[in-house]
Symmetry: C2
């Protein structure tokens, strides 16, 4: 298979992107295209030894930045690395697209260049949520920020697409689906969430009902369904809180003599903890619902994050998740229009 990577997207582009591609290429047999300003990309590539048949550079003279208005950027910067990369996916010159660039532009590119899967109303961003004390490793949070306003059928779609991704990419059998709500009772929540509960209950998904936010970190379900506003809050709050707790631990544990000794003895454990919260280990977030396999990486992705996103992205394209979602749409429509 062929992977196309946006060489110019993200805070550490192109250096970290190129390094990540080189590191990933050493571990997989697949073709990698890096799209971007040729001189810059080649300058970075020169730093490494790599198989020149496996990594190729595709020149793109423009760059979409985080300051660009997404829709406008995708429409006008047609020579940008992002638009060219997504177009390669569209033209079946590549099987997987990866970018750490402007999230809105990635979404807009997915919608306007690839188009939605027929029958899916709103594509969503599915972020992996690290579980601290579960062997299962991660839950999938859909939507984690694409659509701040959702209809009940959108939430049903998120549950269905998330389930397919969990099965096909993360090898979870019969994944459980939970709906984020303010209480576990069916009667709780907004009008929209209540209607979504109804739809999810009627579906053939492994729906476990409403879940409360306090149970998310322990891994209460495989697929966490919510609108993009709430999903964004969940993701960012978790990041912020974990980071602040680690900082606090460090301050607390290194004040006083006895504590310093204790902290020294525990330094290995601290490192393990930090890794657990390190997004770069988990790969990126797929955009589910568009006609192509796209993965959005964290804007400040390191080379390690790029490498892991490529490695973890392979089964997303290989197992034809997009096709499976397409095939399951009819079932969703039956749920929505059944009396």
């Amino acid at each position: 298979m062929r992977i196309v990577v946006d060489g110019m997207g993200g805070d550490n582009a192109p250096a970290a992107i190129v390094q990540g591609c080189v590191e990933a290429a050493a571990l997989i047999p697949h073709q990698i295209f890096i799209v971007g300003e040729e001189t810059q990309i080649k300058k970075e590539l020169k730093k490494y030894k790599y198989n020149k048949d496996q990594i190729q550079v595709i020149h793109a003279s423009e760059v979409i930045t985080n300051e660009d208005a997404p829709v406008r950027a995708v429409r006008t910067k047609i020579e940008s690395s992002m638009v060219k990369g997504i177009t390669m996916l569209k033209e079946q010159e590549a099987d997987l697209f990866i970018s750490a660039g402007n999230t809105g532009a990635i979404m807009a590119g997915g919608l306007f260049i690839l188009g939605r899967i027929q029958g899916i109303d709103r594509p969503a961003i599915a972020a992996t949520y690290p579980l601290l004390r579960s062997k299962r490793g991660v839950s999938l949070l859909v939507d984690s920020g694409a659509n701040v306003e959702c209809k009940p059928n959108n939430l049903l779609e998120y549950g269905a697409m998330g389930s397919i991704y969990m099965q096909k990419v993360l090898n979870v059998d019969n994944p459980t689906v939970g709906l984020v709500n303010v209480g576990s009772e069916e009667s709780k929540g907004t009008t929209i969430v209540k209607a979504a509960y109804e739809l999810l209950s009627r579906s053939n998904l492994n729906f476990i009902g409403n879940i409360e936010a306090r149970d998310i970190p322990k891994g209460v379900c495989d697929v966490i369904v919510c609108d993009g506003f709430v999903g964004n809050v969940i993701l960012k709050l978790s990041e912020g809180l974990a980071w602040n707790i680690l900082k606090l631990l460090k301050t607390k544990f290194t004040s006083g003599m006895v504590s310093k000794m204790g902290a020294l003895l525990l330094s290995g454990k601290f490192k393990e903890l930090k890794e657990l919260f390190d997004y770069s280990e988990y790969g990126g977030a797929p955009i589910l619902g568009v006609k192509g396999a796209m993965i959005k990486m964290h804007g400040s992705s390191s080379a390690n994050a790029v490498k892991n996103t490529i490695l973890k992205g392979v089964p997303y394209a290989e197992n034809k998740v997009v096709q499976v979602i397409q095939d399951s749409v009819l079932e969703l429509e039956e749920v929505m229009f059944r009396e």
Copy 2:
């Protein structure tokens, strides 16, 4: 002043409630009424030495449980400890009402027995959010769960009422107000949040704009404004994540010989951390916007939580927060109806 406490509300009632009242009474000169089943309350009181003039029991033959439908319960169980307690507030036989009972029923009691402050559309629950690395101690999260669906003017009201509470009860000068959103730019968010941004900008509050959830734990602002759905997610996720991180630390730090030694050396620090996350230290959450000073405690409140809620509740009643909110309503209306 006179404090009325619902002796029958919460998982640990009446034992923990009575104990908390006795402990608080020893520290303040105020009158405490405990409303509830007389025999049970008196049996608990017998365990302690206390000033019999200071703590009095008011008999109530009924109890509103967590299983009761809130509105119905408040309408029909008129002999319940909750209804009798709130009625004492209404009749000016008490200045502050505290309960660990059914949250919906407390809200319904506030609305139907006391009524809304004229000009306030929706009363809200204002929870204190512990800040881990800030000397300021807490932010105030409004609304933390009363109204899952909000209009823009409700969010403006939350900002205004939260500011007054922060000034009058927590002694914060010119408190900063932030609006929870998916990004810091003015153009972000749902239609409702965008309109609320507009209203807050035009107000005389110390509005700092949109805040992202990742900045909440570090104390980005004094008053965190959001709808009750998002507020509930923020509060519960923080609780769950902090608890899971502490659990994980314990597991990690006590595996292996060297680690056990380290953990032993750090046990005091662990205790400090646990206290930081312990809701019982922070007192309860005021119901802002009703015509009376009401505080809702955590359902599983311990005696310590009851004691702290009483102690921290005193300035809420003494500084006439309800009256100040009433006086500021005209200003809010001007913001809302200005072109």
